[in-house]
């Protein structure tokens, strides 16, 4: 991985992190009308995966999808404006935190139904294949989603038809309050690839280099028409399931331990160690991200709410 890429990955992770922390504040301040599911601690996955994607590649994502959208190219301000229910948001306020779209950069939707985006990404891959492109589709989903029928049916279909879809399971050890070992009787979800004859790998999702490397292989495979890949990224959900969740179902020690494995710290240390950046460069990058996020928040703040009656546009209401 060249230095530019290394730095770009760090930049993406920082942008995602800062945007999420901003939303946490905005939620507390009553500027986000609904509890959001934040992505803190999982940034290496969005960054490492999306770095391989072109604008004409597509993703689907989940209730915890802000980070994926940013990494895929959605301007932070469009995301924050949407999550704050403003007219200038990426969906004009119709979607909200769990329903983010921006097809022009390949964001084909975050989905509020767990597992709901997996069949959709599969269909996107099908279209890409039928249209004879070398585009790929990516579906992000959690450990919890991997136990849903949508996962099974989709991976089977994609393997059968050799679709250019990469399935990214972010195993953050929890699905709401339910620890992964209380929902899933195998140690690694990556194993499930073999149930469909597709490569299934498990990587450290807090190590962006590992994620990046696994995705490199998967994307090449997808573009070459060789079919789908399942990548499990092990990580940890640092915050509660949603803002406001006290998450008393796990110990403070557990969380503190996980914080030590922060993906940004890891990558920063790595980049400083190999001379790609200095502490000063990092501070500058961090400040730049802060600035972008502050501007985005100001943009959202200054934006109007949508008109009430616009609720009926596109609704299919025959009246």
């Amino acid at each position: 991985m060249d230095t530019i890429t290394q730095i770009r990955l760090l930049e993406t992770m920082l942008r995602v992190r800062k945007a999420e922390l901003q939303l946490a504040i905005m939620y507390k301040n009553g500027k986000v009308p609904c509890a959001a599911h934040l992505y803190e601690g999982q940034e290496a996955i969005a960054a490492g995966i999306c770095d391989h994607l072109r604008h004409d590649d597509c993703i689907t994502s989940t209730h915890r999808g802000h980070g994926h959208c940013i990494a895929k190219g959605m301007p932070i301000k469009k995301m924050i404006a949407e999550v704050s229910a403003k007219k200038t948001g990426c969906c004009g306020g119709k979607g909200g935190t769990m329903h983010l779209f921006m097809p022009e950069v390949g964001v084909m939707g975050t989905v509020g139904i767990v597992g709901g985006g997996i069949p959709i990404a599969t269909g996107i891959g099908l279209a890409m294949k039928m249209q004879n492109t070398d585009r790929v589709a990516v579906s992000f989903f959690g450990d919890g989603a991997a136990n849903n029928g949508s996962f099974h049916e989709s991976l089977n279909l994609a393997a059968l038809w050799k679709l250019p879809v990469i399935y990214i399971c972010e195993n953050n050890l929890y699905a709401t309050s339910v620890a992964v070992w209380r929902s899933t009787p195998i140690p690694d979800i990556g194993i499930r690839g073999s149930a469909y004859g597709m490569p299934g790998v498990t990587v450290d999702g807090n190590h962006v280099d590992e994620v990046y490397a696994a995705m490199e292989t998967a994307v090449a495979r997808g573009r070459a028409g060789e079919g789908p890949t399942l990548i499990e990224c092990k990580t940890y959900r640092i915050r509660g399931h949603f803002e406001g969740d006290d998450a008393f179902y796990r110990t403070k020690e557990e969380v503190a331990e996980a914080r030590k494995r922060d993906p940004i710290d890891y990558w920063k240390a790595h980049l400083i160690a190999n001379g790609a950046i200095t502490e000063e460069t990092f501070e500058a990058m961090s400040a730049k991200a802060d600035e972008e996020v502050a501007e985005a928040a100001a943009f959202a703040d200054a934006s109007p709410y949508p008109e009430p009656e616009s609720a009926l546009l596109l609704s299919g209401n025959p009246a």
Binding site: C91, K94, M102, I118, I120, T122
Partner: protein, 326 residues
């Protein structure tokens, strides 16, 4: 006289012509490939279009429905065959939570032009898992259109319109109608969604009926005619959005409404017709609007019981008579 072909042939011709016209149209589903579907709806399609565009799938209703929605967002126009409406219960999330909602929540940034085709209704002792008529669920879902043809002519015109429509359309094929014959033009034509057809003019009472019920009501109408009762039969053809104006105009003319629906009564299309009419044509109604539906029971297998629970021409005629006498 124009060519007379069967319902299933008309449907097939409509799909074929659209697939010839538009390379983004394709069919997917269990057995739609070389076998040409359960009831031959896609017969010969693999020869004409290849197995990619007449695409057999595993028995994965949820993924079929969702993959169709995903492909549709990318500019394809999938026709997803879910076989029996009964199996769509496994796909409700992708149909009603995803395909139906994606255009709205994305604020119009994506479209989901999918046709979800399913057979519907009674056949012969198809029993509890193969006799469903619960299209009221789809009618109840914003973002969906629902189409139920009752003649070969309508089957072709409506499938073409459904394919060309930019949103998801539920297209229901009644098993008892598939072999019925009727006049069908060879060239492609559209029947606009949302426009009812007056299948029979009459003066005494309006029957709103869909799918096989339209045909049953035609039979009943002949008997009733001999008894001096003239019924008008409106087939909405599209159940969502339905053609309120045509239905109300007829009810205003006859002063009486009977809704004949193969679905169940409670929160069904029959209740919807009765409610809509009561709300909007109160002044014109000579008596309470009525409905005749399948009885509120899981469908039994044995023919005497099965026959007992469904509407049929005799029962329709009786319902009309009892209204005319009261």
């Amino acid at each position: 006289m124009a060519r007379r072909i069967r319902f299933v042939e008309a449907l097939r011709e409509g799909m074929r012509q659209e697939m010839e016209r538009d390379p983004s149209v394709f069919v997917m589903g269990e057995g739609v490939g070389p076998h040409g579907s359960c009831f031959k709806q896609t017969e010969n399609f693999t020869n004409l279009f290849g197995i990619d565009r007449s695409r057999d799938t595993p028995i994965s209703e949820l993924a079929i429905a969702g993959a169709a929605a995903g492909a549709a967002m990318m500019g394809m126009r999938p026709i997803a065959d879910l076989m029996w409406i009964d199996f769509s219960m496994l796909a409700m999330d992708q149909i009603c939570n995803q395909a139906a909602k994606l255009p709205y929540i994305s604020n119009g940034q994506v479209k989901t032009p999918v046709v979800y085709r399913m057979t519907t209704g009674k056949s012969k002792s198809n029993a509890a898992h193969h006799s469903g008529s619960f299209y009221s669920w789809f009618i109840n879902t914003p973002g969906l259109k629902v189409v139920v043809p009752s003649t070969p002519y309508d089957a072709k015109g409506l499938i073409i319109s459904a394919i060309r429509d930019d949103g998801p359309v539920i297209y229901l094929e009644h098993k008892l109608l598939l072999n019925n014959r009727g006049e069908v033009p060879e060239e492609p034509y559209e029947i606009p969604l949302g426009v009812a057809d007056i299948k029979r003019e009459g003066t005494d009472l309006t029957v709103v009926a869909t799918g096989a019920m339209t045909v049953f009501t035609m039979t009943a109408a002949q008997k009733l005619e001999k008894e001096g009762v003239s019924i008008e039969i409106i087939d909405p053809r599209t159940l969502m959005p339905y053609d309120k104006d045509t239905i109300l105009a007829s009810v205003r003319k006859t002063g009486r409404l009977l809704a004949v629906d193969e679905g169940y009564r409670y929160c069904g299309f029959g209740s919807e017709m009765v409610a809509m009419t009561a709300e909007n044509a109160w002044d014109a109604l000579k008596q309470p609007p009525r409905q005749l539906t399948t009885m509120h029971t899981t469908i039994p297998f044995s023919p005497p019981m099965e026959d007992y629970v469904f509407p049929n021409p005799d029962r329709i005629a009786d319902a009309v008579r009892s209204m005319m006498q009261s």
